[in-house]
Subunit: 245 residues, 2 copies
């Protein structure tokens, strides 16, 4: 397995990511093979979708003002969090964890003020599974290869410190690999092994892409065999099966 | 970044993992360079430590019998879970989540009946940070290179389906990378970016090692620059800072 990071120019609203990635690969003399996976960090998907919000345009509702007071956060950010969420999961001093409209349980509804110009914040991409599907189809059509696409973000999590990569969008690969019923080295049946393949891919790429000034928002993963049918929504644990909610 | 999986012979109690890995690398004609990371899955560390338990030798206490009743689990497994744990976090139908004696919050105290002979179960390694340290020192002494070592397991997690890789032991690398204060592409300060590097490495390797009949319990990760000081215990979120406990 090999992961190659790709440096891209700064992305702006309306940019066609598939086209930009294809052009860059061509310039690098790099080819994609069947089963290769293209990982795209959410920040450039967001930017291409124009999901930047000028903070001056945000007027907090009374509900947002109250929650901002309780959490000691900027009321305009809280307003955006509420707009992006369908349920508040947990709040406390300087943190708000919600379920976003696409079903992700994360802090601040994934709203980020890093890597955007001063005075603006960035929302998560709209329908990232569909965004992954569109990128995949365009690349496959051009190159004639079967590839997978993962759109990643990095989230914190309970019990453990630090953030890890998470797949918020996926297309063309087995995002959740159900191995129940397979056997182990001794021929015993594996008990409950479902592997969050797309999240592992996102975490792997997270070591190469980074959130800082690296400017490496895309990576190509070679050497795996996970192309197939699946989407990142497969990785969302249904609320009724989640004992921590 | 590149990950190469290594097939090992079956490991038994008393085996010297560093020696076995070194011998295998030599046979493969593969060299380790400075900054390479050797990832070892917990199952072989456990086995080398003799952490297999014959179920016939386990007599459940009354507490274990009661919890087994409530969770519909084998009382002998519950007995072992309680012995391995310092706190019960959450229980329910067919699941027990505890904090293990080494501080990991996971299901069944990490006890596993896959990849061991019938009638036995496998406990998590004892003091896996120390086990990682010992493997690292032996490999470094032999090869004269600065490397990192990660001991991995795969855990489920709240909010998301499927398991991901988790570092339960680490030595010689920045397990938790604190980037707060660094700047992004626009020179803005990164707000709260602590990256769980060792967990991302464990998840990346999880795509190569697997839990099934693959028999690939070791991987070498090349091309990263995370050697330094750190241990897997750095990744355990202190209970008092964890709003989901």
């Amino acid at each position: 397995m090999e992961i190659i990071g790709l440096k891209l120019p700064l992305i702006k609203e309306g940019d066609d990511l598939a086209e930009i990635i294809l052009r860059l690969l061509e310039n690098m003399g790099m080819t994609l093979e069947d089963d290769d996976i293209v990982l795209v960090t959410e920040k450039i998907v967001s930017k291409s979708q124009g999901r930047l919000v000028d903070m001056k345009t945000v007027t907090p509702t009374e509900e947002a003002e109250k929650l901002a007071d309780a959490t000691d956060k900027d009321p305009r950010i809280v307003e955006l969090i509420l707009r992006e969420s369908r349920e508040i999961v947990l709040t406390g001093p300087n943190f708000i964890i919600t379920e976003t409209r696409d079903g992700f349980v994360c802090a601040n509804a994934g709203i980020d003020s890093s890597n955007v110009v001063e005075g603006k914040v960035k929302l998560l991409p709209l329908d990232p599974d569909r965004a992954a599907e569109e990128i995949r189809q365009k690349i496959e059509k051009t190159l004639g290869k079967h590839i997978g696409v993962v759109i990643s973000d990095s989230f914190g999590r309970p019990f453990r410190s630090g953030s890890v990569g998470v797949a918020i969008g996926a297309s063309g690969l087995t995002a959740l690999w159900d191995r129940r019923g397979e056997t182990d080295l001794y021929g015993r049946t594996l008990e409950s092994t479902r592997v969050a393949v797309a999240d592992c891919i996102a975490s792997a790429a997270n070591l190469v892409t980074g959130d800082g000034s690296e400017g490496i928002p895309v990576a190509v993963i070679k050497g795996l065999k996970f192309t197939g049918v699946g989407r990142a929504a497969d990785l969302i644990r249904p609320k009724e099966e989640d004992r921590f909610r």
